[in-house]
Amino acid sequence: MTVPLEELNMDRIREKLYRSKLPSGLEVFILPKKEYSKQFAIYTTNFGSVDMSFSVPGEKVVTEVPAGVAHFLEHKLFEEEEGNVFDRFSRLGASANAYTNFTTTAYLFSSTSNFYKCLEVLLQFVQSPHFTDENVEKEKGIISQEIRMYDDNGEWKSFFNMLQGLYHRHPVRVDIAGTVESISGIDKDVLYKCYNNFYHPDNMALFVVGNVDINETMELVEKNAKGNLAERAEEIKRYYPEEPPSIHAERIEQVLAVSQPIFNIGIKDTKVGFGGSDLLKKDITTTILLEMLFGKSSQLYQRLYDEGLIDDSFGFDYTAEKDYSYSMLGGESPDPDKLHEIIKQAVTDTRPEDLTEEDFRLARNKLLGRYLRNFDQLEYIASNFISYHFKGANFLDFMGLLEQTDLGSVRERFDEHIRPWASTLSIVSPQQRREG
């Protein structure tokens, strides 16, 4: 091995993480778990559906790309001159997959044998694009069916309509896969342009977890990861339109073939524009807050459940990204409008001092339990780690930060984020419920 390996000890949870950075800028993380049968590797680029306007380091020109490019590129990387990559993983007995979200594209496999060969295939295929006019055209049929499938998915539609209600201009309001129309404008030149910019090792990271040997893994990565590229002096510039703090629409309703209304309530967080451990802290504090307000042990949850306005499908979540953040509630409800009114009223009637120390401790313990559960699922720990990594935060700092979080910071968060109540109600319903 030529590059140094740093060891991070997490005594409290009995794990050790190893990390290294290659001269090309690629960051590598290894979390050995020898008692597992499985190995899991995820090779990711910091390129997602929101990256639709950017400049290549060293260039001044701004490139604009159609919606759905990152996802399209993900599909196409599986294609090789001779057949597709799935075949190579299949021959090795591994199961390979990929996903694209708002900020990241990830290529992954899980294996129980032939791990090092699989890792070699993973590194190689992601580094060897093969786009032709013909294979780009062919993919449009498949992706159109993927988009159509989501068009019939009430929860997905409700979620995206909510984002369209929250955001005026930010590209998070655009569907990850784009639209049948937008992908029709994608050709191989656009794909290469994006590939060359975003699939540079300095914009990528590899996370390996499971029954693996650290040294063997590192040697293989050094040998196979694109070595001829040096880390670029400048970062990729990404441009997002200026997003006003207000919400775009208060209520959005769509009719689909569903049995009862599906809803999402989005609450826009205007405290954005930073990453790193501050972002992780904000994430933890807000998640505790939501748990205290809407969790199963809260009075509000009990009341909504007793009134039949929510059921077991009810859930909530906080999304913290550098450039956009929001809280979200969702589920099925016979009367989302009434539900929304009650929640809004209850929240605006709550004073910060109503949030008690006891409820705070319960919520914090819950988060601790949930965090530990991550480590029992190799896929979870890998994708969560990577997602925070690209935001400049270390997921392993979670426990320390959680222990430092106090009730005061949760009350502050309540005052700045939830209490002003800037929300969008999105409903997917069996029939139109209200005229605009």
Binding site: M149, D152, N161, H248, E253, V255, S259, Q260, L362
Partner: protein
């Protein structure tokens, strides 16, 4: 049983299985009660939802959630599972292992006792479930039953199986039906639950970093279910489809058509062609190495998802694809071509090897998931097979092409179900 380090009978028809796996940081616990899938299906589906609302020790959701919250947010999941001709009442929880608690305090035994308490000491007052809970959960279940149309892929698979097994117990929906539900009463259901407690075999599964000492307290005070006369429900493979295949078309306001074709195989877990059938289904539609994936999706670009899947307890198979509605006939033709190739032995070495490796990879991976370990044990108990994951892996590796082709002869097409659409729905924004 491989992987089960400890098994103890706790009472008449009550068994505890402990799988000690130090690699897990959490402990998964489940209590399962086995019932035949019959006219009580809706009642069985409602019971766990009422049980989760409270018991004599913790009488409401808030009390329960505080109890769980104090134990690091241990989860509580209740459901009813459909396993072949059986319906299983299920209560489960996941909690961090005693080794990771802040002061090293024990939480595992507490949770086991809590789950058993929900089952054993339900809130039955004057011979009836508490009205408030009964009514709320009945209404929730009604909505759950109606919401089955929301997930179009699952709905079309369920509907296809229902048509394929018409008149058999397996054709009942996992959560029962709305008409039966409207006939249930808080009193009638409480009476029925007494029968369940007296008759249903009960298994308790514990998977995680747990020593016997951690659950000693529970073992010494096992669930007391009173006098029991245990009745073990039975299941059987679905008989072969008799006669010509049927076509069922259902209309809904959808953008994408869901094509689902059901088959009978006559082969369940205990059949000697069970393992060849696993390999057969994998070659046909078990992932990116399969004929369906490569022909329906990659070559013809007709679908994003396409698969062949087995219902192993009943010996049924289903093929699915999400397609443009106008491509119905075209897709069927390609699917039939793949089935023909299977029958004619047109299976390449690499297809055979890839299928075997995919199956063995899944079996090895299973050992890393508490949920899958529990599910494997439940399937063993329900089906009566006694294979371990390693037995299965060995058998899969020894399967020949001829054995796979021999399976093809017994596969009979039963029902082609197509969920198809109409016009497109609108969208409205309020600013």
């Amino acid at each position: 049983m491989e992987g089960v380090y400890f098994r103890q009978q706790l009472g008449e028809g009550i068994n505890l299985y402990l799988v000690r796996e130090p690699k897990f940081k959490t402990v998964s616990m489940s209590i399962v009660m086995y019932r035949p899938l019959d006219e009580n299906a809706t009642g069985n589906a409602l019971i766990p939802h009422i049980l989760k609302r409270g018991c004599e020790d913790l009488k409401d959701t808030r009390a329960i959630q505080r109890f769980l919250g104090q134990r690091y947010g241990a989860s509580l999941n209740v459901d009813v599972l459909k396993k072949g001709d059986m319906q299983l009442i299920f209560l489960g929880s996941n909690v961090i292992s005693n080794k990771y608690t802040i002061k090293g305090e024990g939480v595992v035994s507490d949770i086991l006792k809590f789950l058993a308490g929900l089952v054993e000491r339900p809130l039955i007052e004057q011979d009836r479930f508490r009205d408030e809970y009964f009514v709320q959960e009945r209404d929730n279940l009604e909505r759950l039953i109606n919401s089955r149309i929301n997930n179009k892929i699952q709905y079309s698979i369920d509907r296809c199986y229902e048509e394929t097994t018409e008149g058999q117990p397996f054709s009942r929906y996992r959560y029962g039906d709305a008409v039966d539900l409207s006939r249930l009463t808080a009193e009638g259901l409480a009476g029925y639950y007494r029968t369940v407690l007296a008759e249903a075999p009960m298994d308790i599964f514990v998977v995680g970093d747990v020593d016997i000492a951690d659950i000693r307290d529970f073992l010494d005070n096992p669930p007391a279910l009173g006098e029991r006369k245990v009745k073990r429900p039975e299941g059987a493979v679905s008989p072969h489809w008799d006669g010509a295949p049927r076509e069922v078309v259902e209309h809904m306001d959808v953008n994408q058509g869901k094509l689902t074709i059901g088959y009978t195989t006559g082969i369940d877990y205990t059949h000697d062609q069970y393992v060849p059938l696993l390999v057969y289904a994998s070659i046909l539609g078990g992932g990116p190495h399969s004929k369906l994936f490569n022909n329906v999706r990659e070559r013809a670009s007709l679908a994003y998802y396409t698969f062949a899947r087995l219902e192993k307890l009943k010996g049924l198979m289903v093929i699915g694809a999400g397609i443009e509605i106008s491509n119905y006939q075209k897709t069927i033709a390609i699917i039939e071509e793949q089935l023909l190739q299977m029958r004619n032995g047109k299976i390449s070495d690499s297809e055979l090897v890839a299928a075997k490796m995919a199956l063995t990879n899944d079996l090895h991976s299973m050992k890393d998931s508490q949920m899958q370990i529990t599910d494997f044990l439940i399937n063993r108990i329900v089906s009566g097979h006694d294979m371990t994951p390693d037995d299965l892996i060995e058998k899969i590796n020894g399967i020949t092409r001829d054995e796979v082709v021999a399976v093809a002869d017994g596969i009979k097409q039963a029902v082609t179900y197509f969920l198809t659409g109409g016009g497109k729905a609108g969208k409205e924004e309020v600013k």
